[in-house]
């Protein structure tokens, strides 16, 4: 239900005024609804690959320092691959968030257009029916006028004949 209120003057209730307000409200809801809120997805923080600064870490680093060249050599390809994968996943997540937001926006837009088209079709059918009756009416009037015209023509001729006898 819409949030706008219908103003009613209870001392002089006027159906036409109430209906105008209802129509305006319905039109505003159908046409002026804001679309999806904000196009961008929530930002994802850049992963921190620089490491922590704890004492434990320092001790461990000192203890393992003689083996550092070997460890580096062993984990280098895995670490590189891991970093690359995390970056790719993060990038993919951002793209997915953006795409989902876009799809949602399009979906709402399409829904509104469908509603409008539905109303349009309905109103067209109603108007066409009224117009068909109107056309019939006009055809009838034309036929009546043709007959009247024909009759007046005949009358004119008859009168002329009488006058010039």
């Amino acid at each position: 239900m819409g949030q706008e209120r219908i103003e009613i003057d209870y001392d002089h209730v006027d159906v036409r005024r109430i209906m105008d307000q209802i129509k305006e409200k319905v039109a505003a809801e159908a046409g002026g609804k804001p679309l999806a809120s904000g196009g961008e997805a929530a930002p994802v923080s850049e992963p921190d690959f620089t490491g922590g600064q704890g004492r434990m870490r320092r001790v461990l680093l000192k203890l393992t320092s003689p083996f550092r060249p070997l460890i580096k050599l062993l984990i280098l390809p895995v670490d590189e691959e891991h970093r690359r994968t995390v970056l790719i996943l993060d990038h993919t997540n951002r793209r997915l968030d953006r795409l989902i937001a876009e799809v949602e926006r399009d979906r709402r837009l399409t829904r509104e257009y469908t509603k409008l088209l539905h109303h349009l079709c309905h109103n067209l059918v109603v108007e066409m029916s009224k117009l068909k009756i109107e056309v019939e009416t006009l055809k009838t009037k034309t036929r009546v006028m043709e007959k009247d015209f024909e009759f007046l023509g005949k009358r004119e001729k008859a009168l002329e004949k009488e006058a010039f006898k």
């Binding site: 239900m1 159906v15 809801e29 009756i133 009838t140």
Partner: protein, 393 residues
């Protein structure tokens, strides 16, 4: 003055439409004139099969002469003929063939009119689209008064009816919209006429509480009274109401009363009570918050007038120009074209008892000014007086 009311069906078992309209007017006019009814032996409006055995009987103090229908209607064949007629170019002969199929074909009734033309002052024909009105008015044009009860449906534009609307001595319309439509279709402006309509019998006492107790209904409800039929816009009413319930969370119920020719959706807040008698109908109206009229085609809508007579507002289908016009003239109800308009209008009406009271009061005033039997009788008598004056001058 002797009046004959000519109508396609007549009897206490027929409780709606032009037939009931005719019966009520005849019963009220018998105070002012000698009244007889000329009709057929049919009850079923689909087939027009002969039902009444007797040729003559008295119904509520009025002599009713019944004439046999010589050929029952075949609905399928009639449907085919009507479709062809409305969708293709055709000649007057095709329209007359359609009229014969439409029925009720009672040549005895037409012969009676021919033979007894001078025994009556005026013949008041009800419903323009049937055999009895067309051939009856052609038989006694100078004494005929037509009550067309015309709706905005395509057959009103047929050529045969253009002539028909220009033939009678006078026309009694049900609404301003009906008069405009017929004037436009036939160019019958010079034919004397008036917008009269019909009154209604309001019982002295009615009780919404009794109705609620009898049917075990609690909480607010809106009411639909009449035939439950797609042609009456009920399919759309159900759709809109279910959507209204879903979107608004309102506790309101939709109560339906009348004969049904369509499937009613199964919904906990849609209650179908079957056909209600006159007394119960007014109890139901009294208990309702408002009446809903979803019909697309109406020439007047007696139930709308009854609702206003009880001071109840109406929510009507604005695509029916008569209902919209009546709501605007009476200031007694709101109207809708689309589902959002239905939702908003119903929401506004249900949320404001003060608005419902104000609209109901306006509706009641409109009813009392235009549709009480005193007013209707006076309008009929004024028209008859005018015709008598024209005749003598």
């Amino acid at each position: 003055m002797k009046l004959a009311f000519v109508v396609q069906r007549y009897g206490l078992e027929i409780n709606g439409g032009a037939e009931l309209h005719c019966r009520w007017v005849a019963e009220h006019m018998k105070k002012h004139a000698e009244v007889e009814v000329l009709t057929t032996k049919a009850v079923d409006y689909i087939t027009w099969k002969n039902h009444f055995a007797r040729d003559e009987e008295v119904v509520n103090g009025i002599t009713v002469r019944r004439f046999p229908v010589t050929r029952a209607r075949n609905p399928e064949r009639f449907g085919r003929i009507q479709d062809r007629l409305l969708c293709h170019d055709h000649k007057e002969a095709d329209e007359l063939r359609w009229l014969n199929e439409e029925g009720p074909r009672a040549p005895g009734l037409i012969q009676f009119l021919k033979d007894n033309e001078n025994s009556y002052d005026y013949f008041i024909f009800f419903s323009y689209r049937y055999y009895h009105s067309y051939w009856g008015i052609k038989t006694v044009p100078r004494q005929s008064i037509l009550v067309p009860t015309a709706e905005r449906d395509p057959v009103v534009g047929l050529g045969i009816f253009r002539d028909l609307f220009r033939t009678p001595r006078a026309i009694i319309y049900n609404s301003i919209e009906e008069r405009k439509m017929i004037n436009d279709v036939s160019g019958n402006g010079p034919v004397p006429g008036d917008v009269v309509g019909v009154g209604t019998e309001i019982p002295d006492c009615y009780s919404g509480e009794t109705f609620r107790r009898q049917h075990n209904i609690s909480g607010p409800y809106v009411l639909y009274l009449g035939r439950i039929d797609e042609n009456k816009g009920c399919h759309r009413l159900f759709d809109y109401f279910i959507r209204f319930k879903r979107e608004s969370g309102s506790e309101v119920k939709l109560v339906l009363a009348g004969s049904t020719v369509m499937q009613i959706p199964s919904h906990p807040d849609i209650l179908y009570l079957g056909f209600l008698g006159d007394g119960e109908k007014f109890d139901a109206l009294d208990g309702a918050e408002l009446l809903i009229m979803p019909s697309f085609y109406e020439s007047l809508s007696m139930v709308t007038l009854e609702s206003w007579a009880l001071g109840k507002p109406v929510l009507a289908n604005a695509l029916c120009d008569v209902l919209k016009g009546q709501c605007q003239r009476s200031n007694g109800g709101l109207y809708y074209e689309t589902c959002p308009e239905f939702r908003e209008s119903l929401g506004v009406l249900l949320s404001s008892p003060r608005l419902r009271r104000a609209l109901g009061e306006d509706g009641r005033r409109y009813f009392e000014a235009n549709y009480t039997w005193d007013v209707i009788e006076k309008k009929y008598l004024a028209l008859l007086g005018r015709l008598e004056k024209d005749k003598s001058s």
